[in-house]
């Protein structure tokens, strides 16, 4: 009897787990003793960190997209369909087209997505760069921006927690390069008492924003947007007028979790922060953005988690070995601090990050990493 590993999701976490397992178990996968299947709604992978560059017209969208089939290791089966329901008792997943896929081990890697309906007026009045379409629309808006009030408003939770800080500083740099900074006001709003949830990043943003003349509004939770009058209202009673509004809409998990009775508030899966098991299930795991683990929803987290999970799955699939590798909360995020400078943060559950002085070298490293990512995704590096 072959052992079946089913992975739901064809994003960063899903592809990494599939490829890491398949590469370590080449023989058994080739002989079909172990079947690795990726069930994904999308057959195209998009490199989301590139959206920032697309918005500033620095990258072409085509450079961010690749076919999922081209990214999978040999022997991994790809089923292009949407998972509709997980039946944990029957160890099966049913799909939109009515297929039923059996599993011995299930990995949920369904990511996070924008909740565009929670804030009235958002779709009509705001821009965002968290989807490729949104980034392209923002690119056009930036092309015709000749000065005025740029407001960047953050809702949480959201993926890639440093991206709003990056966008704000890149915009500042971009406006200076275009010679319109003097007739541009920049306001950054954040829901809690400081401009970022991570203390050192908040201090860094405080210093940098102040030095660059960027206004900070804290305790600002988007309530509604008056798209006609171009005013953003907060739940705390603050009104901010804008000419161009870039919002980070709060995120939510995929509805699959709720439909299957496995996810909690926000559609996030209750996940063990070390072994990545879902609830009390011994054979269901969650990885990447879709967990409720108190760690950044970011590609880097998905990468570190995927390696731990893949190693544990290899043990389970080959000789039923109990998972022994633990995720420790490791993450590494670059922070672009302009168009030509960057810094980074590195942290885990026990060690909060510090923010080194930004430099051009780190920016160049980030640009290099943008390419290395594809090798990481294919698990060849």
């Amino acid at each position: 009897m072959s052992k079946k590993l089913l992975i739901i999701g064809s994003g960063t976490a899903g592809l990494m787990v599939a490829n890491l397992v398949a590469r370590q178990l080449r023989g058994p996968v080739a002989h079909r003793d172990i079947e690795v299947t990726v069930l994904g709604e999308r057959d195209e992978y998009v490199y989301q960190p590139g959206f920032l560059y697309v918005a500033f017209d620095l990258w072409e969208p085509d450079s961010l997209r690749r076919k999922v089939a081209d990214l999978l290791s040999p022997g991994v089966r790809f089923v292009h369909d949407r998972a509709e329901r997980i039946d944990a008792a029957a160890q099966s997943v049913t799909t939109r087209t009515g297929q039923t896929l059996q599993y011995d081990y299930l990995v949920i890697a369904t990511g996070s997505q924008l909740n565009l309906t929670e804030i009235p007026g958002l779709e009509e009045g705001a821009h965002w760069f968290y989807t490729l379409e949104g980034a392209l629309r923002l690119r056009e808006a930036l092309k015709s921006f000749e000065g005025g009030r740029l407001v960047l408003s953050v809702g949480i939770p959201h993926k890639c927690p440093v991206a709003p800080v990056e966008f704000t500083m890149m915009f500042d740099d971009w406006a200076r390069a275009r010679g319109i900074r003097e007739k541009t006001e920049i306001t950054y709003t954040y829901p809690v008492a400081r401009p970022h949830t991570i203390a050192s990043v908040a201090d860094f943003a405080d210093r940098e924003f102040t030095a660059r003349g960027i206004e900070i509004e804290t305790f600002f939770n988007m309530d509604s947007i008056d798209a006609q009058g171009k005013v953003l209202h907060s739940q705390e009673g603050t009104d901010v007028p804008y000419d161009l509004l870039v919002a980070i809409p709060p995120h939510m998990g995929d509805t699959l979790g709720a439909a299957s009775g496995l996810a909690e508030k926000g559609n996030w899966y209750p996940t063990d922060r070390n072994l990545l098991r879902v609830g009390a299930y011994k054979n269901i795991f969650a990885v990447g953005d879709t967990t409720n683990i108190p760690v950044s929803k970011a590609g880097s987290v998905a990468h570190f988690e995927s390696e731990v999970l893949a190693d544990n799955l290899v043990g389970l699939l080959t000789d039923g070995r109990e998972p022994g590798h633990a995720y420790t909360g490791r993450a590494f995020c670059f922070i672009e601090t302009g168009l030509e400078q960057a810094t980074y943060i590195s942290f885990d559950f026990a060690h909060p990050p510090t923010v080194p002085t930004p430099s051009r070298s780190i920016h160049l490293f980030k640009q290099t990493y943008n390419r290395i990512h594809w090798a990481n995704l294919k698990a060849v590096m």
Partner: protein, 78 residues
Amino acid sequence: MVEEASRTIDARGSFCPGPLMEMIRAIKAAEIGDVVAVLSNDSGSRTDIPKWAQKAGQELVAVQSGEEGDSILVRKVK
């Protein structure tokens, strides 16, 4: 007098800004006059939530310490 909460949210085990965001979301969904209680064992909540309530013009009802964490109560007044 012990205030009765209209809604209690157990945010224990979640960390900054989890409990505060739970409070913000619950107040948004509540009716005027409702009291929302958030249970938290993140020490930051004791200061974060009252600060937010002040900024948002909502009424801080109580901050109660218990063995299993703090209970912070806020009444929606507008």
